[in-house]
Homo-oligomer: 412 residues x 2
């Protein structure tokens, strides 16, 4: 794409994002906020009106001059399907342009199924959720697929992860595009969760925030000025594999003392079982992780803690202590002013971890310069699926990374 | 600044950066690399020729069509003064547009001097180094000041750091601008070191790289696609305060088991002295750190290790083990493909740390997707001063962060 096209794409992205963030806004306010010229804003708004993405919804109170017409995104004008692939199964979420989930379904049994079969089922389910919701397929922008990282974003080939071993080197994005006829975006669950928080405005305004995502594994994603931090290969924020104990237990990644190995749900469940807490399952933790039961077992430990079980409380407190160290590392490395605890494990136990994490991050070096707020996501349990849909909305509508790339492409 | 102005600034920055990176390059190649339009590139190049920043140096071999004129930056057309403020003293480096140091001087004794006196001396020394080098003051773009972080980049007020306690809340940038009459950029030493590596092309091409900076403290700076990662407040990459041992020794920052406390030069010197290694100083480590001797004492431990002292070797190996964990954390969080060891401590001991760090980062999760190279900076000892000058060149000539901000300013 040449410069003029890129300039237009950047301006369009900026205008859409400002309208989305504001709810309703006038053209003049868009000019003031984006610092684009009035002519550019006017032209982009006209195109968005023509495409039905934006609608005029009334007039702002007069300030003496001509009343200002207010603009708003049309939530039902575009949709995206978020697909969260994990060992337990696949979650489908149909999100509208505002990031609201209008339909959702969950299908069991990915771990041992053939990827090709899963891909065909995915395309079918994605079409089905759109049809059942009576959404015009022409309004669906694409499919976002997330799975536990690391992965290869450029090709959508998922890399090694023990719970999804059949997906190693599988060209997921290409196969799913072929099967569905729609654009496919692939990312890791934690980065998607961060994009979902950003897109749905579930988080309060922030210059830079991180999503600390805990499911069976632990990851993080960071958004600065509305743009995900991606590093060299989109495999950033692997906070689960940051070492917090050099002589600690072995992690599946091959190192000792990773946060995930020391404090993740698998270690909590193993410790709870060893201490005699009823975790509602007899399988070993490794079997649990390959199967569907790890988070259920983790939930039993959380329930026991809430019921006053001192062993469960102590084990979760120990996990929280290390997760809090990880959150502090996140703040120290990424310099964020907000940490959002999200993912299904925090949907179960977020309120138990929150005060421990908040206390610890307030002692991070960056906290001398600005506060660091911590909160639990409003949609922690569906964060990856919401994020998967938001990835599509972001990449199809406000692909701002391209704008950055344009300026720096020379250096690659 | 309105859109048109910002577009021009972005295009100018992209063109300068491509010429700098390439050495010599034709207009056509600039168009291909930046994806700007031929008209935009032609206009920007004409302005740069008019300003004397760029010169035509000959013609590329004909490929059948019209021979292409080659462009090159004029190194002597612009200069910047880098000022590295630490407890030991102040280092001044006059760098040309290519990032080459054309003059350098060092003045002792900042720690206990009054900041106002230091600022006056700084302005005098900066003018002096320019004059002695017989550089036209009109060609000096500004002064870059770096000090150990954290700091407040927007105002230049340095925050708490024990070795520079008099500088807390001091409006360094404003006072130095007033005293020197030149633009002043302030940043932390590690980010500056990364910018210096980038600007001087000391590092090989990289999609994302980190400078792991060790002086008396430990920090890091990360550059992605040529742009420093800055987070919410430019206090990113505080790898020295990442916890590697939850029950480890207290750090000055108030937490336990920080990398800096466990493995930094102060801990190496303390351990060496306790083991009977002659560190060439009798003061306690705290006194050493406030005074001028810590890195000299660290150098004595390194010398002892090179001379075969098993105690010194073991102590440095222990430090390297934790520094390597920190480097792995850097890779896992930032997803970089290159780690550059820099700063005066690595100037002394980089070759001892290098193999340990290289082995460890090859086991980072991201290393499954791409290799991570590690090397010692070619100007590790002067990295902060070189970086300080490069910050000015970057902020005055290729202020690309603005381009990003333009698109996302709405969200602040």
């Amino acid at each position: 794409m040449r410069g003029a096209g890129a300039d237009h794409a950047n301006a369009r992205a900026a205008v859409i994002d400002v309208i989305r963030a504001a709810g309703t806004i006038s053209r003049t306010e868009i000019v003031n906020t984006t610092r684009l010229t009035p002519g550019t804003v006017s032209g982009e708004v006209r195109r968005l009106l023509d495409e039905g993405l934006v609608v005029e919804v009334g007039r702002a109170p007069s300030t003496g001059g001509k009343p200002r017409r207010l603009l708003e995104l049309v939530a039902s004008s575009r949709f995206a399907v978020g697909i969260h692939l994990d060992h337990d199964g696949v979650t489908y979420a149909l999100a509208d342009l505002g990031g609201a989930i209008v339909a959702r379904r969950r299908v069991d049994g990915v771990g041992e199924a053939e990827p090709d079969d899963v891909i065909r089922a995915m395309a079918r389910e994605a079409a089905g959720i759109v049809e059942d919701a009576q959404v015009d397929p022409a309004r669906v922008l694409g499919l976002g697929v997330v799975s536990p990282g690391p992965l290869v974003a450029a090709t959508g080939m998922v890399m090694s992860r023990p719970s999804l071993h059949r997906w190693v080197d599988y060209p997921l994005a290409a196969r799913l595009e072929a099967a569905s006829g729609l654009p496919v975006v692939v990312d890791n669950d934690a980065t998607a969760a961060a994009v979902g928080e950003h897109w749905t405005r579930a988080s309060e305004p922030s210059a830079a925030f991180s999503a600390l995502y805990m499911a069976t594994g632990i990851g993080s994603g960071t958004i600065v000025d509305g743009v995900p931090y991606r590093g060299a290969s989109s495999n950033t924020g692997e906070i689960g594999h940051v070492c917090v104990a050099v002589s600690g237990p072995m992690c599946w990644c091959g190192n000792r003392g990773c946060v995930e190995a020391v404090a993740g749900p698998a270690s909590v469940v193993a410790a709870a079982r060893a201490a005699g807490v009823d975790v509602g399952a007899r399988e070993g933790v490794e079997t649990l992780e390959r199967g569907a039961g790890l988070l259920r077992a983790f939930g039993r430990v959380v329930d026991a803690a809430h019921a006053g079980d001192a062993r469960a409380r102590a084990i979760l407190a120990d996990s929280a202590r290390y997760v809090a160290v990880a959150a502090q590392t996140l703040c120290s490395m990424m310099d964020v002013d907000l940490v959002v605890l999200t993912g299904p494990a925090f949907a179960l136990a977020g309120e138990l971890y929150l005060p421990v994490v908040q206390e610890r991050v307030s002692r991070a070096v960056v906290a001398h310069g600005h506060g660091v707020r911590v909160r639990v996501s409003a949609h922690a349990n569906q964060a990856a699926a919401v994020g998967a849909a938001a990835l599509v909305l972001q990449s199809e509508l406000v692909p701002r990374r391209f704008g950055v790339r344009l300026l720096v492409g020379a250096e690659r």
